[in-house]
Symmetry: C2
Subunit: 213 residues, 2 copies
Amino acid sequence: MDLKKKVSIAVIRRLPRYYRYLADLLKMDITRISSKELSNRMGITASQIRQDLNCFGGFGQQGYGYNVELLYKEIGNILGVNDKFCTIIIGAGNMGQALANYSNFESRGFSLKAIFDIDPELVGKKIKGIEILHMDALEEFIKSNKVDIAMLCVPYEYTPELADKVARLGVKGLWNFSPMDLKLPYDVVIENVHLSDSLMVLGYKLSEKLKNK
Amino acid sequence: MDLKKKVSIAVIRRLPRYYRYLADLLKMDITRISSKELSNRMGITASQIRQDLNCFGGFGQQGYGYNVELLYKEIGNILGVNDKFCTIIIGAGNMGQALANYSNFESRGFSLKAIFDIDPELVGKKIKGIEILHMDALEEFIKSNKVDIAMLCVPYEYTPELADKVARLGVKGLWNFSPMDLKLPYDVVIENVHLSDSLMVLGYKLSEKLKNK
DNA sequence: TAGATTGTTAATCGATTAACAATC
DNA sequence: TAGATTGTTAATCGATTAACAATC
């Protein structure tokens, strides 16, 4: 179907970073930038920037550089900022509530539709105007609403079963916060946030640092 | 000082994942495993597993494979699970509280010593037996206690200033939850958790998926 | 011993960097 | 036009995979 080579995940993972730097430049009223200057700010090579951007098309102009606003919008498009993904949060503990309160998800195309929990203390409460529903209502909700992404913030032991359930109901994207690799027999995309993995890497870096002193 | 080549960060980032799989195997009372069998479970090549492990030494035995418990302990050692890092959480909002409640950090060598916030409503409250202190007490606390890692969970606009402050006070590891790349003139190791970056990558994967249907 | 599987070297692959012609 | 900087090809580097002798 698509003839051009698939863009590597390494490039994709750099896009949100470009997007952040371009937003900063916009805020500073900088209207144009060269790959050289951007490379200085970001601490990567200008070559890499040009290579990355050219995976998606020629956004620059010889002798001039890149128009910041245009490039910002283009990268936004690539990342689907204008796509409006409908999301739900499952598990309204601290992590779930933290995600519900993240204000910049909305501006990046992620629209929170509902929050679910089993705790009767939490059910009925509102976060950012979104009512917390009981878990029992989850299946019905997914069946009668478009849900693109489920953010899984339930305790470890509930996660696999829950992931399987929402995938079976047709949710195509999972954002997993449990320290496990979900394996699903369905055609689903998964992005993991393994906090303890990240912390352990920090621990490793720190001991290396102390060792070499 | 160290003659052997520095282990690449790609390898390091896989270690916590090995550690999780080995913990699972232990739980299942599996005492030995070959790189082949582990590769099947993890979905990576046996070659990569052997290469990764041999960055740190020969933990296996020809004809036998790896002793699960031994390997688990060795990887734990490499990651510093026995190192006891003292940590503090700055910002006791939902994210800070979520981190405070993460029970498996402690078992991985991270000992939470204090939590800080400016909100008088929160100050004095206890999470997991740790009292939330006022931000004003931060400087004094760091000066009179060993603090290895600060987990920064304050709003975006406070983060750079705060990072600079704790680094100046001698904290050597920062775990940053704000969507920005901290740049510090001090000798500090930083690990970022950029949630919105992760979510945007999920969004990208999802649109790719839908496009190719 | 025969079979299994490691540790390690060599080959391959992919990603990053360098170079430069094209062109604004 | 001259200078700057892109888009793109080629070179380099590093990481992953394959192969296999060593050995349990």
